[in-house]
């Protein structure tokens, strides 16, 4: 049962939380609206896209790039899980 942490919801959420917290210099609860709280600017959102793609080997394309998918750690985790699942149907 040694699952790669990069493929479990918990592992992904932890990694994203660590990245965002470090960049904004504050604790970030998984449900916090990052845009509304002003923690994430449009510029940082662009960085997040590129970071998620590199860290989790996914491609985020077209309508998946909508703001709602980057609104919270939980939303980003769900996006990565969905794209991972689609990309590696047989699992890690």
């Amino acid at each position: 049962m040694n699952q790669d942490p990069a493929t479990t919801a918990e592992g992904i959420a932890q990694a994203i939380t660590a990245f965002v917290s470090k960049r904004v210099g504050a604790d970030v609860p998984a449900d916090q609206d990052l845009f509304e709280s002003g923690l994430v600017s449009s510029l940082f959102a662009m960085e997040l896209v590129v970071h998620l793609e590199q860290a989790f080997s996914v491609q985020i394309l077209g309508d998946d790039l909508k703001r709602d998918n980057f609104r919270s750690v939980r939303a980003m985790t769900a996006l990565v899980l969905r794209l991972n699942g689609a990309g590696h149907a047989t699992g890690a």
Binding site: R23, V24, G25, G38, S41, S42, L43, F44, A45, M46, V49, G62, D63, L65, K66, R67, F70
Partner: protein, 358 residues
Amino acid sequence: MAEQTSIVKCLVWDLDNTLWQGTLLEDGDVRLPDSVRELVTELDSRGILQSVASKNDHDQAWKRLEALGVAEYFVLPRIGWGPKSDSVREIADELGFALGTVAFVDDQPAERAEVRFHLPEVRCYDAGRLPELAALPEFSPVTVTVDSRRRRQMYQAGFRRKSAEAEFQGPSDDFLRSLELQMRIGRATEDELSRVEELTLRTSQMNATGVHYSSSDLRALLADPRHEVLVTTLTDRFGPHGAVGLQLLEKHAGVWNLKLLATSCRVVSFGAGSVLLGWLVDQAAHAGVHLVADFRRTERNRMMEIAYRLAGFTDEPCDCRAGLPEPAQEDVQRLHLLPAPCAPPPTMKLHTVSLEGV
């Protein structure tokens, strides 16, 4: 026709018996001929950067350049005792220039040979050729724009900005605020057309359709009341960034079509693209129109798509698309947005025109 000569972007000067007459550490006194002073200011006004690679005592030589009133013209000077090929290479690296766009002038054949040996792409000139330099094609750019005339100041501001950023501790938005960024968005004037054209040529990463508009294309559009040709300039406390953005908008009843958005790569890290889009969305919301943005994927403009999508543009169908003429190129996607008022950015001050009223 001879093949096109590539333009020199930076000329690196030797000092003793090249820039000035005499050897500073031996003669004590040196003389800067008027003709050389004129050459330095002329090249500067053409947007050609200048630097120094000299074997000399750094403090004395720099003091002398200041006393002669020309120190400000030289960026990233290398004055010391190392090989000149190292100096020239470091200058090119720091500027981000290819060696083939760098030139070196020195009165000593051995120094030119040393540079040529290690850096064969660098063009080397004997100091005896200084009188003819300004007339050579490689020192004569075809277009000299408002921005090329102040290119050196923009680079110098860039160096100061970089060191300020390296020293700054804290969130990046706070750093951006500390820059006191001021963005101006205005209708392009005839004078600005050449710099605008340069933008569509140079900004392949941040060009939403990959289309190059020539200055005559744009001039025709200036005269067309349906079209808005908008130029964005950016300034901060260190100095000007020059023209950093171009928007081409065609206004129809009920919908505005953003046919081109190009921003300079230099200002991506300031979020300039998102600020421009946010402003346009706000204008459209107040005018009560939909927005349709043309996007054509190229190998290099992915950041532009991300900026559009994050701003809320989607593929969703809307009746407003039917009123638009077909796009000029193939493979153009039309992204749609129903605009809502958009708060001004927290990181910079905007000075803008109003687009309301066709």
